[in-house]
């Protein structure tokens, strides 16, 4: 059994205007030391998936009508709040998108890290502080002995995210969930933070769930990837497979909408038309059909389930791999791209 196994997770928000199926049947698994990338546009349900793992979605309005989240065999959806408190931070830690607002402004960085340590481990204050200095050092903060007593506002944005990572890793968790950890940072700092995460993963053997809308980040870090659209996984598989041979037109469109340096010749960028659908009024048939470049008549009737297209590689599309390949070629020819 995998260390973390999510089966058919459904996270629904009950609102006045109806039920919003923010996550609607998502499954994946994670082994120790592995990195899973979850990719999607805003509103695709990737962050809600992450918060579901931590059981941090506000209840109400959130409900989990179906599915299970098995962490080392135990279903977190059925775990008590006090059990979850023991798991959070200790076994599964999480870092958030905006380091500017994710640290409490009135406590020192050191206080906030030692607090995390002392919740889960029986150590003295002095010992916890020593550990805090050590993790700050590990995440590359210069002068950690002095910095540990400073307040978040005295840190730069990149340093704050390092401090968040330090806090996340302070109890040596088995899983680290990173929700868009680099989005709010400068490009140069982004690269440093990602590199840091790779290094730390090797050092501590932590499994990482990397949530991002940035395909580049996934390509760089993830062993396997799950693409989400309108609350569902529409394609998942090993990162290389998904990137080199996308089986779902949405993934293909995503890849074609960003510039790449490694492609020979000139590739015209192909923006994705339209906007993600409202989760209350989903289109008939396939959720992606209003924006799909390869849409057929059947797509308006059939809502395709995620199915294996190749070993380990699944996609939710009624087009066969051959059909899809032909269509991709046709578009490329129209745009004048050489294979």
């Amino acid at each position: 059994m995998a260390m973390l196994e999510v089966n058919d997770l459904k996270t629904h928000f009950k609102t006045q205007d109806g039920t919003v199926k923010a996550v609607d049947g998502v499954s994946f698994s994670l082994e120790p030391g592995e990195t899973l990338g979850i990719v999607g546009e805003s509103g695709s349900g990737k962050s809600v998936t992450a918060l579901s793992l931590m059981q941090l979605n506000p209840k109400p309005p959130v409900e989990y009508p179906e599915g299970e989240i098995l962490f080392e065999g135990q279903d977190l959806l059925k775990a008590s709040e006090s059990r979850m408190q023991k798991i959070r931070g200790n076994d599964i830690a999480m870092i958030f998108q905006d380091p500017m607002t994710s640290l409490n402004p009135v406590f020192t960085v050191g206080d906030q890290i030692t607090e995390a340590i002392r919740i889960h481990q029986q150590v003295s204050k002095g010992e916890a502080k020593k550990r805090a200095v050590q993790v700050l050092k590990d995440v590359g903060i210069a002068n950690p002995e002095r910095r540990v007593d400073e307040y978040p506002h005295q840190y730069s944005g990149g340093m704050r995210q390092r401090a968040m990572i330090a806090m996340g890793l302070s109890c040596n968790p088995k899983v680290l969930i990173a929700d868009e950890p680099t989005t709010a940072l400068d490009v140069t700092i982004q690269a440093q933070i990602l590199e840091l995460m790779v290094d730390l993963q090797e050092k501590y053997g932590t499994a990482i769930v990397m949530i991002t809308h940035d395909l580049g980040v996934v390509a760089q870090l993830a062993d396997k990837v799950m693409v989400m659209y309108a609350g569902r996984a529409v394609e998942q598989g090993p990162t290389d497979d998904v990137f080199y041979d996308p089986m779902m037109p949405y993934t293909w469109s995503l890849l074609r909408s960003i510039p790449r340096l490694d492609t020979a010749g000139e590739v015209r960028l192909l923006p994705i038309k339209g906007t993600p659908p409202s989760l209350i009024f989903l289109p008939e048939g396939c959720n992606f059909n209003p924006r799909c470049p390869f849409v057929k008549d059947e797509c308006h009737r059939i809502d395709p389930a995620l199915e294996g297209k190749k070993p380990g590689h699944a996609a939710a599309c009624i087009l066969s791999p051959e059909e899809l390949e032909n269509k991709k070629h046709r578009v490329d020819e129209e745009l004048g791209v050489e294979g």
Binding site: K86, R88, G89, F96, E115, A116, I119, H120, M164
Partner: protein, 319 residues
């Protein structure tokens, strides 16, 4: 930090000086304070001249102001027009009752409003929160003087005749009565004065707490595995109290202005009642002194609020 406080203090002193000039001028609009002496046929011209000189009324207005403010700075608030004594000796005995009344009201406000505000935010839209919202609207809309009258009527008159013994007194304050007696006199004015503050501060605390509850750093605290209790009481409350502390400091400055109505309704022998009393007696030198004291308190506590904020919020530093 120190440089900031010094700069801010000097600025406040200048504002106060300006305010003193405006106050002096406003009160001087009342005209000749000796009118009633002039109309009295038994007051001889010599006496009039003596009084005019005593009050410095023979000098131009700007000189009068200059004398008044320099005396004030040396602790002499001038002479009363209606009583043959100094303003100091009229004002001094009135300070303690006002401090006592305001202190009690402040205490009631803090003890009720802050816990209730926090509770309302945590149990948003619960029955108790909704009741609190409604009642605070009633509180905002209640004229203090009428609330005072109703308290006198219900808890003073009706309750006394129903119970057969006097529980609350409806006016005045005795200095020789002992602790219970003081409480019996203090209760009603303190309640009347607190109702609006409680309404105001409980809503303010609720808003501040709600603001904090939706913050990212509380999610971080939960993600660490902190129990709900510490998330609220340590991480949330510390942040949610900061604006309240500041507002409380500012409120203290308004102590005096706020006391006028309540003290008058309950004939509470404090500074506010003295102001009304001096206005009825056309004793404008007393009124003038009280106005300046009121302005000084406002300015001083604004300064305190500013400095206090830098102590409670590590992000604020005035370097």
């Amino acid at each position: 930090m120190l440089a900031y406080v010094v700069r801010r203090t000097i600025f406040s002193a200048l504002i106060l000086l300006l305010a003193s000039a405006v106050i002096f001028y406003i009160v001087s609009l009342a005209g000749d304070p000796l009118t009633y002496l002039r109309q009295n046929p038994r007051v001889s011209p010599e006496d009039l001249a003596r009084f005019t000189a005593l009050y410095g009324l023979d000098k131009p207005l700007w000189q009068q102001y200059f004398i008044w403010i320099t005396d004030f700075l040396t602790g002499d608030m001038g002479r009363s027009f209606s009583q043959n004594t100094s303003v100091n000796s009229i004002v001094a005995p009135r300070v303690w009752p006002t401090v006592l009344l305001m202190g009690s009201s402040l205490l009631i406000t803090i003890l009720i409003a802050i816990p209730f505000g926090v509770y309302s935010a945590l149990k948003k839209y619960s029955a108790l929160d909704n009741a609190g919202t409604f009642l605070s609207f009633v509180g905002f809309s209640m004229p203090t003087f009428w609330l005072g009258l109703i308290l006198q009527l219900v808890l003073g008159v009706y309750l006394t005749s129903w119970a057969g013994v006097r529980i609350f007194y409806t006016s005045g304050m005795r200095t020789d009565g002992g602790f219970v007696d003081v409480l019996q006199h203090l209760a009603l004015p303190a309640i009347a004065l607190s109702v609006i503050s409680v309404a105001q501060f409980s809503r303010f605390q609720r808003a501040a707490m709600l603001d904090v509850l939706s913050s990212d750093y509380l999610r971080t605290a939960r993600a660490k595995g902190l129990p709900q209790r510490s998330v609220y009481l340590k991480h949330a409350l510390r942040n949610a109290l900061m604006p309240t502390v500041t507002l409380l400091a500012i409120e203290m400055g308004l102590i005096f202005g706020g006391a006028v109505v309540t003290e008058t309704v309950f004939a509470w022998p404090g500074l506010g009642f003295l102001l009304i009393d001096s206005l009825y007696k056309n004793d404008y030198n007393v009124a003038r002194a009280l106005l300046l004291i009121a302005a000084a308190l406002i300015i001083f506590f604004n300064l305190v609020a500013d400095v206090a904020y830098s102590f409670v919020d590590p992000r604020v530093s005035y370097d």
